[in-house]
């Protein structure tokens, strides 16, 4: 009985100590700080706005013929290996065409990188702004997104959902759904197919 009591006591003490240390250290963690009162739960899907251009499903890794960005196709549900979403999806050729477009230079087209700090620092699409949903970056890019004609959001690709979280958060801030584009195959495809990679300054 005495042994059980001492085991439980030490377990409870460890829990209290961990809580105290965690709460004391958290405010000083910089970008790794967790905002205790923020609900980090990813935003839910929103209904597709009527009249938006759509595109067909693109199998993972498949190439898509180049076309007017975001204006081709027939279906807009689950367009790729990416999880189901309600946004216009861009293929690699379309993203590359938008990057080369002069409108990108005057920030009418902006690229948002939804990956974490380490991944962004290691390399990103040239000119892309880091916008990590989990670190609360979205409010900081809302003004630029509102002023832009096209906002292209990407993360790692595959089953990565961080870009989708950013898209839905932008919607919540009032950015028109028709201006938001998802590059679902994301960084994995970009790094495989493009030589245009920019690295963040340390």
């Amino acid at each position: 009985m005495g042994a059980s009591k001492s085991i439980l006591l030490s377990a409870v003490l460890l829990i209290f100590a961990a809580t105290a240390i965690g709460m004391a250290v958290n405010p000083f963690r910089g970008r790794s700080r967790i905002d205790l009162h923020r609900n980090y739960a990813p935003p839910k899907a929103v209904p597709v706005a009527p009249g938006l251009p759509t595109r067909p499903a693109v199998p993972a890794g498949a190439t898509q013929p180049a076309s007017e960005p975001g204006t081709s196709g027939a279906s807009r549900t689950t367009p790729s290996a990416h999880v189901a979403h309600e946004f216009q999806e861009l293929a690699y050729e379309e993203v590359a065409a938008l990057l080369a477009d002069p409108l990108t230079q005057i920030h009418m087209y902006i690229f948002l990188d939804a990956r974490n700090d380490d991944a962004y620092r290691a390399g990103h699409i040239p000119g892309a702004i880091q916008c990590d949903y989990w670190r609360g970056d979205v409010p900081q890019v809302v003004d630029r997104a509102m002023a832009a004609e096209k906002i292209i959001v990407y993360c790692n690709g595959g089953a990565c959902e961080d870009s989708l979280h950013v898209c839905r958060e932008l919607l919540r801030y009032g950015v028109p759904q028709g201006n938001i584009y998802l590059y679902a195959h994301g960084w994995e495809e970009w790094v495989r197919r493009s030589a245009e990679i920019e690295q963040a300054q340390p």
Binding site: I7, L13, A18, M23, N26, R33, L36, H37, N39, Y40
Partner: protein
């Protein structure tokens, strides 16, 4: 004249050196592994929080609950690892480690199975499934992670019941535990 022939009934039982060695080995294995995993999580608690949401570990409302979990759990792991390594409060720490492993290991198995049976998934076998389990080690192969967790769980369960205090800080100031009373003839 009387001679002291009978041993006192509370004399500590001798622990075989093999058990001492096994206990130290289990403490090193479990302690070092948990210290490493917790430090990886502490490096970026936001990534850990993200994984908590992926697993749906806790209700999202109130947000404070799940956020506090992400803030405190890596520290709890680190403190448990330290307790096990130093041999102070070892059995309580081992109990917490075992509980954490019993909670998280089925979740990893469930996620592995979900990915394996996902529509369009083309894994040759279940062991080919790999994903970021949120354990602090990034992307891992599911079978390897499950085997690792089972080994850690066995070590933690052993440490709850092991009586050896060999190379423990606790042995410096705590009295030796009483042995089970012997039946007198």
């Amino acid at each position: 004249m009387t001679t002291a022939t009978a041993l006192p009934v509370t004399a500590p039982a001798r622990i075989h050196p093999v058990w001492h060695g096994l206990t130290v080995l289990a403490r090193l294995g479990v302690g070092l592994m948990f210290a490493y995993l917790s430090l990886m999580k502490l490096r970026d608690p936001v990534e850990f929080l993200k994984q908590i949401h992926v697993y749906n570990l806790a209700p999202t409302e109130p947000a404070l609950l799940v956020n506090m979990l992400a803030v405190t759990l890596p520290w709890l792991e680190l403190l448990c690892a330290a307790a096990v390594l130093l041999g102070v409060g070892r059995r309580g720490a081992a109990l917490l480690i075992a509980l954490m492993l019993l909670f998280f290991t089925p979740l990893i198995l469930h996620r592995g199975l979900t990915l394996y049976h996902a529509p369009g998934a083309s894994y040759a076998s279940f062991c080919d499934v790999s994903f970021d389990c949120g354990c602090g080690t990034g992307v891992v192969f599911v079978c390897r992670k499950l085997a690792e967790n089972c080994a850690l769980l066995a070590g933690a369960l052993y440490l709850i019941f092991a009586r050896s205090r060999c190379l423990s800080l606790a042995a410096l100031w705590l009295p030796r535990p009483p042995a089970p009373a012997r039946a007198e003839r």
